[in-house]
């Protein structure tokens, strides 16, 4: 755009006017309320989604760690207990005698 005035000549004003018209259209498009509103909406959407993603991540982190603390040991221990019970049952059925040793345990 800075080179245009140096050329001089007749065509310059036409070109200028054409460029002006173009820029006018572009400007009109870019400055039209629809586009600016769209841009705003996109910005808002990006902002909200970023925030949402972050808060979802945080919530997932909290929920995950809470689960790790509260439920995981419980599940493991329940499983162990069940295994012990099964083992005892097996032993009882193999020996045929009442499992007195396991009762005292």
């Amino acid at each position: 755009m800075a080179a245009q005035p140096k050329r001089g000549g007749v065509s310059l004003p036409e070109r200028r006017s054409a460029a002006k018209a173009e820029s006018n259209i572009l400007a009109r498009i870019t400055s039209s309320p629809l586009v600016s509103r769209g841009k705003q909406a996109a910005c808002d959407a990006a902002f909200v989604s970023k925030k949402l993603l972050r808060s979802t991540g945080k919530a997932a982190w909290i929920a995950g760690t809470t689960f790790l603390i509260l439920a995981v040991p419980l599940i493991i221990e329940m499983d162990r207990e069940q295994q012990l019970n099964e083992l005892e049952l097996q032993q009882a059925s193999l020996l045929g005698a009442p499992p007195t040793a396991s009762v005292s345990k």
Binding site: I62, T65, T66, I69, L70, P73, E77, R80, E81, K105
Partner: protein, 307 residues
């Protein structure tokens, strides 16, 4: 068999005379009420499952019984301890200490002494006559306290005296076989404070509900549901009228053959778990975890208990 009859026969008039002058207006149906639990243990089931002693770092406890009544205990603790501060952030400094204790436990007399390497000394004496006397002594903080307990047939009363002109009295009475009501009065002369509190406890073999109100503005309610022999669920609610803080928490308590597991979550987002795993006879492994997301305070500890 004939020799067993006279003690029973003599015991009945003694009990009858005792109950007759304490509560003459009660019906005959209510003469044989069970003895209530001590006032300070009113919420013990809920506290047992909701307030496990979480710690951070390493701990090792060793108890050696020298004979039936006398035992020595050694315990080592290493890890960061919190310092109370005004700011919201918690400040922790690493500490390590060793504790030596000697216990003498007899059905009538209980002597417990503890010495820490940082100079704290703790002593407890409990002497059961008909009334029992307990004394706690802590020279560094200069805490001394004497309790006189009187255990009646269906009531307990306690009188407390501490240094700093601290006086307290409490009384708990069984009203029905399940319900007991209690009241307490305390007066702290040093701080010029006095207060009055009431409590109630309802207990069946499936659930325990307890409530406590004090004139300091504290309201504490707790409920424990025993789902089975092994499992109990507990919840509690605390409200302080003066400072306006409210906390509620829900927890579980699993007593399995190999371990005991307690977990809790409260309304501040603080999650706690405490696992005691029995590795062998007399050898327990402890894992403790506490995470507080709002304060960014995470505490994990492990330990071993021998003996």
């Amino acid at each position: 068999m004939a020799g067993l009859v006279p003690p029973g026969a003599t015991a009945i008039p003694a009990e009858a005379s005792k109950t007759a002058h304490t509560k003459a207006e009660e019906k005959t149906d209510y003469m044989n009420l069970p003895c209530p639990i001590p006032f300070e243990e009113l919420q013990r089931e809920a506290l047992m499952s909701l307030k496990p002693e979480t710690f951070e770092g390493l701990r090792f406890d060793f108890t050696k019984g020298l004979n039936q009544k006398f035992s020595l205990s050694h315990s080592v603790f290493m890890g960061p301890t919190e310092i109370p501060s005004q700011s919201a952030e918690t400040i922790k400094i690493p500490t390590a200490h060793y504790e030596f204790g000697a216990n003498f436990i007899d059905p009538n007399l209980m002597l417990i002494g503890r010495v820490l390497t940082d100079g704290r000394v703790n002593a407890r004496v409990k002497w059961d006559l008909t009334d029992n006397l307990s004394l706690t002594n802590e020279p560094h903080m200069s805490h001394g306290m004497v309790n006189f307990d009187y255990k009646g047939k269906d009531y307990r009363s306690q009188f407390q005296m501490g240094n700093g002109a601290l006086f307290g009295a409490s009384y708990i009475q069984s009203v029905t076989p399940h319900l007991s009501l209690a009241g307490e009065v305390f007066w702290a002369g040093q701080h010029r404070k006095s207060g009055l509190g009431y409590a109630a406890r309802y207990e069946t073999d499936k659930m325990v509900a307890a409530g406590q109100v004090a004139s300091t503005g504290m309201v504490a309610l707790s409920y424990v549901q025993k789902v089975s022999e092994k499992v109990s669920l507990a919840s509690d609610f605390m409200y302080n009228y003066m400072t306006r803080d409210v906390t509620a928490s829900v927890g579980y308590d699993y007593i399995l053959r190999q371990c005991r597991l307690r977990g809790k979550i409260d309304s501040n987002g603080c999650t706690t778990a405490y696992l005691e795993e029995r590795l062998n006879m007399g050898l327990n492994f402890i894992l403790s975890a506490e995470i507080d997301h709002s304060k960014k305070d995470y505490k994990f500890g492990f330990g071993l208990t021998v003996g």
